[in-house]
């Protein structure tokens, strides 16, 4: 985490420059929407993904473009977001004006009528260049209610020494990936760290084989896990659970770098910021985390360089060489609250979020910006390349009104866990399909 903060300082310095230079940008003239009444508006951002520098940029730019108005940013926790949105968004006095919402939660609130129609902004902020899956999650009755904010980028991390020792090359297809993982697997080392409840990663095989969780037929949702293509992907998942991992079946996608650092896993898949959590024993210099001397900083730098030297990273490959797998994309959307009394100001903020400057700042911060045109701002190191490749191919969970209930009931966690404990794939899929249909309709 310390490393993250150091990185953020660097980004902050870079951003201050961008912020200064954007002051005279003619495209952000507020008069085009008529000057709204000055007011204070509230933006809810979740977790710490949007760093301080980005927040500062939003506040400064918003207040410069809307003289007399103020922007207050309140940080919310992901874990408590849904109950808060259920209550606050329904209150005229308390509602935040603009909210960030998890992409899998987006459809539920969109259908419930919690957000304002912002279709008129769609073309202006990027149109077809916006991350399509995220746009879909914010559409109801053909109108846009929520637009993509950023996508979390995932990549596969691997231990280069273990690859060399086992004579394994970086895989170029998803089938080769499975082979490599099995080859690396031993009693003490997991070829691929794949915990039983990790449906985020499991979705990669499901989607890449052409399957899905659920599909809409007319007005009805139908579980799609028993479709032949889905089953094909799920059989690969079952194979990995059985032959390529020692990860416990009762664990989820949290902290996969812990076994990796302990030498108990040769590969894991995680958001690219996991690079800051890699701490291989052979690289650890034993620096006191409180030590802020130059010497300690230098040692920490060496440590990070050493870690990255021994760790490789690649985007999960697809069915054919040169393709990328279709993976589940985490990330979030931006929406304007329907009950907000400051619709114009809220839209002005949304425009700032989609300004090239801010989109690039998101990319520089390691996030895939909602407008893919600016994805290159993530840089060109291996992490960024892996992240961008993965993200452009990413897919979301079905944009069903009641998808949030599927997550609330933890149907997918249960389902993948059943596969991990050796249940018959077809039977488990049929049962899960039934639950999905019951929940989504």
């Amino acid at each position: 985490m310390k490393m993250l903060r150091f990185a953020a300082v660097g980004v902050a310095a870079a951003l201050t420059l961008t912020a200064c230079s954007s002051g005279d940008d003619p495209s952000s003239d507020p008069s085009e929407a008529g000057t709204p009444e000055p007011a204070t508006i509230k933006l809810w951002l979740n977790g710490t993904d949007t760093g301080d520098a980005l927040r500062e940029y939003l506040v400064t730019t918003f207040e410069a473009e809307n003289p007399g108005s103020k922007l207050v940013i309140e940080e919310q926790d992901w874990s408590g977001l849904v109950p808060r949105l259920q209550t606050a968004l329904a209150s005229e006095d308390q509602t935040p004006d603009v909210v960030e919402i998890g992409n899998t939660q987006s459809a539920t609130f969109t259908y419930a009528g919690a957000f304002s129609d912002i279709s008129d902004l769609y073309e202006e902020v990027g149109g077809a260049k916006l991350l399509q899956g995220f746009v879909d999650a914010g559409i109801a009755d053909g109108k846009n209610y929520a637009l993509p904010y950023y996508s979390g980028a995932r990549a596969v991390f691997y231990n280069k020494d273990m690859f060399a020792a086992a004579g394994v090359e970086v895989p170029t297809t998803i089938a080769e990936f499975g082979e490599a993982a099995k080859k690396l697997q031993s009693d003490s080392v997991s070829g691929f760290w794949f915990p039983g409840q990790d449906w985020y990663n499991g979705a990669t095989w499901l989607y890449t084989a052409g399957g899905d969780f659920a599909v809409q037929e007319g007005d009805e949702w139908k579980g799609a896990l028993s479709e032949p293509k889905s089953i094909e992907g799920l059989e690969q998942v079952a194979d990995l659970f059985a032959n390529a991992t020692n990860a416990p079946a009762d664990s989820d996608s949290n902290e996969p770098w812990v076994p990796f650092n302990a030498g108990q896993a040769a590969m894991f898949s995680a958001p690219t910021w996991a690079r800051w959590s890699i701490d291989l024993p052979q690289c650890n210099k034993g620096v006191d985390p409180d030590d802020t001397s130059d010497e300690a900083k230098a040692l920490r730098g060496e440590q990070q360089a050493c870690n990255e030297e021994h760790t490789g990273v690649f985007a999960m490959p697809g069915n054919a060489a040169g393709d990328y797998a279709t993976a589940f994309a985490g990330g979030s959307n931006i929406a304007v609250a329907a009950k907000s009394k400051n619709q114009d100001l809220a839209k002005s903020l949304v425009r700032i979020i989609y300004s090239p400057e801010f989109q690039q700042m998101l990319g520089e911060n390691g996030l895939i910006p909602g407008n893919t045109e600016y994805a290159s701002s993530m840089g060109d190191d291996v992490y960024a390349q892996a992240a961008i490749s993965a993200a452009l191919n990413a897919k979301l969970t079905p944009a069903a009104e009641k998808w949030a209930d599927v997550e609330g009931d933890r149907i997918l966690e249960d389902f993948f866990q059943q596969i991990a404990t050796g249940a018959d794939v077809a039977e488990a899929a049929a049962a899960a399909d039934q639950l999905l249909a019951d929940t989504l309709n």
């Binding site: 985490m1 977790g47 710490t48 309140e74 940080e75 919310q76 926790d77 992901w78 874990s79 408590g80 109950p83 808060r84 259920q86 209550t87 606050a88 329904a90 209150s91 006095d93 308390q94 949290n254 902290e255 812990v258 650092n261 302990a262 910021w273 959590s277 701490d279 650890n284 006191d288 985390p289 409180d290």
Partner: protein
């Protein structure tokens, strides 16, 4: 707690005997210590058992504090570290130097103080009514506050939020304190009922005969006898208000108004659920006021339970 069972105390005759009532528990305890078990050897064995049980019971708490001293790589190692030797204080330093922690501490303390004062005062008055008077609706009232405790509260937050919103009490200490007070009042009334019934009315009346006013008699005679009961109920209320998460989550959305449980959850997320040593340090520090309050009132609470727990 168990105070609820206490029926109207059969009035003892004469003040002196009654006045010695609060001393009874102590005397009884002394005798309980002295007798009953036969050999000193058996007693010592039982004592050993008690200490072993105590150690087993406290182990999870020890583990929490131990973890708070450990750096991350020791925390999630194949072999556990049982003693925090060579441990780091940096986790605690991080918590104590965090201004948001102190802000949350202030909010939590403010909420707890209001809740305790309001709940104890209101519950006390209600307890006085149901144990000192017979009136139409008395049993219904008592049954209602029992039944209310049986209804799960997980689904209430929507209505509670709307109500607070209507009165502009969202993101306010007073709003959160209001819903907390309502939540713990039924239990507190149940408990205090027993304690009030345990104080014989004749004590007060005798004092009035001696020339004190009714109010004076009440505050000089009855109130002190109720102190243990108030303390015992207060402990329960303190714990509830201090640890509550779900309601605080929806009522206190402004980061500046976070209570400690919300702050702790925020700490988990800010560390992307990776730096557990910091989280455990936070949890340990949060637990300190509770434990201090507990140990501070422990003696009184035990006698409080004694005074109220048993039919007179």
């Amino acid at each position: 707690m168990s105070a609820l069972a206490t029926p109207p105390a059969p009035a003892p005759h004469g003040v002196p005997e009654v006045a010695s009532a609060p001393a009874r528990p102590a005397r009884r305890r002394a005798s309980a210590e002295s007798g009953r078990t036969a050999s000193p050897l058996a007693r010592r064995l039982l004592g050993l058992v008690a200490v072993l049980v105590a150690l087993a019971w406290v182990f999870p708490i020890y583990w929490m504090i131990n973890s708070a001293f450990l750096p991350l790589n020791k925390l999630q190692a194949p072999d556990p570290t049982f003693l925090p030797f060579g441990g780091t204080l940096s986790n605690f330093r991080g918590v104590v130097q965090d201004p948001t922690f102190w802000a949350a501490m202030r909010v939590s303390l403010a909420v707890v103080v209001i809740v305790l004062l309001a709940a104890l005062m209101f519950a006390f008055l209600a307890a006085l009514a149901v144990s000192r008077f017979r009136f139409r609706g008395r049993k219904s009232f008592i049954l209602t506050i029992l039944v209310v405790q049986m209804i799960p509260a997980e689904g209430l937050f929507i209505s509670q939020y709307q109500m607070l919103d209507g009165w502009d009490l969202v993101n306010k200490v007073s709003g959160l304190a209001l819903v907390y007070t309502a939540a713990i009042l039924p239990f507190t009334i149940w408990m205090l009922r027993g304690f009030v019934a345990g104080v014989p009315i004749e004590l007060e009346e005798a004092a009035m005969v001696d020339g004190l006013s009714r109010v004076g008699a009440f505050f000089r005679i009855t109130f002190p006898l109720l102190a243990p009961g108030l303390v015992a109920s207060g402990v329960y209320g303190f714990l509830q208000a201090w640890n509550e998460y779900t309601l605080a989550l929806v009522v206190m959305t402004d980061p500046a108004q976070r209570t400690l449980p919300l702050w702790l959850q925020g700490l988990v997320e800010a560390n992307r659920a990776t730096d557990w040593g910091v989280v455990m340090a936070g949890a340990s520090v949060i637990a300190i006021p509770v434990i201090v309050f507990f140990l501070f009132v422990q003696g009184k609470m035990t006698s409080g339970l004694v005074a109220g727990a048993v039919k007179g």
